[in-house]
Homo-oligomer: 515 residues x 2
């Protein structure tokens, strides 16, 4: 029987008392480890974090907490090779995709370490300037941001077990809020190992970082009004979290990042073969295949002027045809597997549904995986679909197939394109491709309210831009509507979720003591 | 039969098709008017606001929308006498209390009119500076705040039919978001009349301001992902709103302002009869009696050093004894009635519950109302309760009696006082009284995370401070935990709720077009 991974809660390692759920290698089908949370005293664990780790963290300044994050970065860097091995084995990722998760997580954490240093020797933040409450300046209102005295519970998705932890934990710990992470079971090993390494290194106060692996049953029950919960995953689970009494009655603050039918849009006026056209083609193919398309931010809909539909289909398909899929241990392989049989089935099911309404422009479904047993490996080649009637095809705007799948859609004019993009009902990101700065700026403004991020690619930034789907810590991550309405990252903005805003109305002499 | 008040929806006046619910004079018991929303096509009304009024508002700049608010202010000022009459008749308020609702609403709206002017000829707001996404400054991230393309639904409380509308509608309309208000039925007349006057004056685009009076059945059903809903009222109704599919699945943004067991705290070291002591006494008595204690922000718990318990009890009771209660039309009356028989019953029930755990320090229950029939008028005198064992008395920290009722509680030292205040589980406001600026600043920081506002009263601002319970548009209104976790007002911060944040990642030349 494989090893049972330990939970870390209440400042100590704790084994679940059940048989455990196996974690599998999605390429080889072998059992890697087991996770279990049966019998854990969650209420005691949450209370330990809230009452022991919280005050210890909040006694530190932002700069001191930033230094803790820098120490965590060092621990993670020292164990980086092990994380690559775990990622390959448990997530089926090629090295470039592992890097997004592991090195991306370390980079994001390092960014918040530096941010802590820049915030300095303070324990709360001023929010704006003092404002007069009347003609006499002797009585004023000063807004503050102060850390919440609770815990941060993260319920995370299977696609980023590394980055998904640290992009949330960095801002939380920097804010003085202890973290309890519940990774998605299928790929929980990397999260568990990273927490174990950090806990073992003793760089954080006891209870500041906890991990619970396995079932999420009862996980929300210990939440109290000053706690927060951040969830990444399906809209169905998001609705369950939002309906929990801790949220509906206790006003526990919730951040949701749910699914999203993201768009790439080639602006009107760009010819086939133009620089902007080629940039769209390259980015679309890259987004479809990176992480085997298992990114919340991946391009799902590709919009081009109707005259360019055929040219775009051909160009993207030609790039996809070069993608080698299979065992990530084989150096010739460019794209690994999906994370599980369940995901493979889900992608196949979604593809079948979309195919009823679309034409297949490039079919990767039948591609034999390199160096892997097709009956075992969760591998699937990239598939580009197309629909010439973008208006009449509701499903392509509504169904997210969480794999290497996207749909090409033609539009008549800019207004038509914007209306089609908006049929996603709120997305994490849209990318725009063009060469006219004014038109790009105008299009970005048009789409800003329905996207957390608008990524603009023009020829002068061809070699500089950070990628449609790549989440940079400097920029907001989240989106309105069906994307969940959440806000993560965005530099210092990420700290808002873990702070409470308050106005202090007082004599100016009293306000001087708040600095 | 009394007049049936008209709803205003879909850009026109609409009568409900039912018999209607009567609105009563809470002092005289007479029927004033009826409200009814039976048979309204809510979906069509919401769509009209979203599709007609929204684009019309968003085509304007902040300065232009600010000018619209200024025009609304003029309409309200022109009809002010009628609002005073309606308030007296339907809310049972004395003139000073009417002023808080009517003039407070107009002042708040005027503040947002001026804010619009200061934001200038723009249609979106920049959020911070552009940030580099790498070493090369040619590709950067700029955050924006852009108006949401939806409607704002307000479900309001019975205690502020005037202010409660405008403190929300000001920021919403200034943001370019159409407003649909559903006032609490008992006191709906003032809200309905104000909307009717503004609609009749034609100063806003058609559908920018709607009112639905009567039952709230089905009111959330037409909400779509880019709409927002703001609720003021009970925790029970808040939980129902939060559990609606529009919120749980559609990510409709929700702002809640629920009940709150607010505190007043005399800091240690102040003697009986000192200036700080007298300021606490005065403010406690004022807060208990203003609006007959029907304010979400009113002081419910009064904390004093244990040695001052008797002195504080005597001093507050002496002030309360001077409060004349009764018919607000009688010039000798200082405090009017509660808004309804239902509220009178609720206050009596709450008082009975608290009295089982407390001693009565001043009893206004038996006070005969001036110029009113005690069997009809919803009048109740102020009651000060006290509990010498503040720790052992859970109910006083948990039960909000929404009337002229507060409880005096002694504490041992500052840490004990802070712990007791925090037993409110998150409140709208705490007020601090003292003469040591450093101690006041330190106490404000200690309590900031569990309060939306900390109001500090020291002798030098005795004549300047704006009052514990008075909500100033410059300061945040809302509170964490049981106070609902919402954020309103706070100057320009109020616009956040009606805007969406987005990051635009682009070439610096493209970002130049976002200004």
């Amino acid at each position: 029987m494989s090893q049972l991974l330990l939970n870390h809660l209440a400042g100590r390692s704790q084994a679940g008392s059940g048989a455990g759920t196996p974690l599998l290698d999605p390429v080889l089908g072998t059992e890697l480890a087991r996770v279990d949370a049966t019998g854990l005293d969650l209420a005691a664990g949450f209370a330990f974090a809230r009452e022991q780790a919280g005050p210890a963290l909040r006694a530190l300044t932002y700069a001191q907490r930033g230094a803790l994050l820098a120490a965590v970065v060092k621990v993670l860097q020292a164990n980086r090779d092990a994380y690559y091995e775990i990622s390959t084995a448990n997530s089926g990722t090629v090295k470039n995709d592992t890097a997004i998760d592991v090195d991306g997580g370390i980079y994001t954490l390092g960014t918040y370490a530096k941010l802590g240093e820049s915030l300095g020797e303070r324990r709360h933040l001023l929010d704006g300037e003092a404002a007069r409450l009347g003609k006499d300046p002797a009585f004023q209102s000063q807004h503050l941001m102060v850390p919440t005295r609770g815990v941060a519970l993260f319920i995370n998705a299977f696609n980023f077990p590394g980055w998904g932890l640290w992009e949330k934990a960095g801002p939380a710990l920097l804010s003085g809020v202890p973290v309890i992470v519940k990774p998605a079971t299928a790929t929980a090993w990397l999260t568990q190992r990273m927490v174990q390494d950090v806990v073992a290194a003793g760089v954080l106060p006891a209870g500041a970082l906890s991990v619970v692996c396995g079932s999420s049953a009862g996980l929300l029950d210990p939440l109290q009004p000053f706690d927060v919960v951040s969830f990444t995953g399906s809209a169905e689970t998001a609705a369950i979290i939002r309906s929990h009494p801790a949220v509906t009655h206790g006003s526990v603050r919730v951040n949701i990042e749910a699914d999203s039918i993201n768009s790439a849009l080639l602006l009107p006026g760009e010819a086939a073969g133009s620089e902007a056209f080629e940039l769209l083609v390259k980015e679309a193919a890259r987004e479809m295949t990176q992480k085997s398309g298992q990114k919340c931010t991946a391009i799902r809909r590709i919009f081009v002027p109707e005259a360019l539909y055929g040219a775009a289909a051909g160009a993207i398909a030609a790039r996809l045809a070069k993608t080698t899929v299979g065992n990530p241990r084989n150096e010739s392989v460019r794209m690994g597997s999906l994370v599980s049989r369940a995901q493979l089935a889900s992608v196949r099911e979604g593809l079948a549904a979309l195919k009823q309404h679309t034409e297949v422009l490039h079919d990767g479904a039948g591609q034999a995986p390199v160096d892997a047993d097709p009956a075992v490996a969760c591998c699937v080649g990239p598939t580009l679909l197309g629909a010439r009637d973008a208006d009449g095809n509701a499903l392509v705007h509504d169904l997210e197939v969480f794999g290497p799948v996207a749909t090409l859609l033609p539009y008549r004019d800019a207004a038509h394109a914007f209306a089609l993009v908006r049929r996603g009902q709120g997305s994490l990101v849209a990318s725009l491709y063009g060469s006219d700065a004014a038109a790009l700026g105008s299009a970005a403004l048009e789409l800003a309210d329905s996207h957390g991020r608008v990524h603009v690619v023009s020829p002068e930034v061809a070699a500089l831009h950070t990628g449609h789907g790549n989440v940079m810590p400097q920029s907001l991550h989240g989106g309105p509507g069906r994307a969940g309405g959440g806000e993560e990252l965005g530099g210092v903005r990420a700290l808002n979720f873990y702070h409470r805003r308050a106005a202090v109305q007082a004599a100016t002499a009293v306000l001087a003591h708040l600095n």
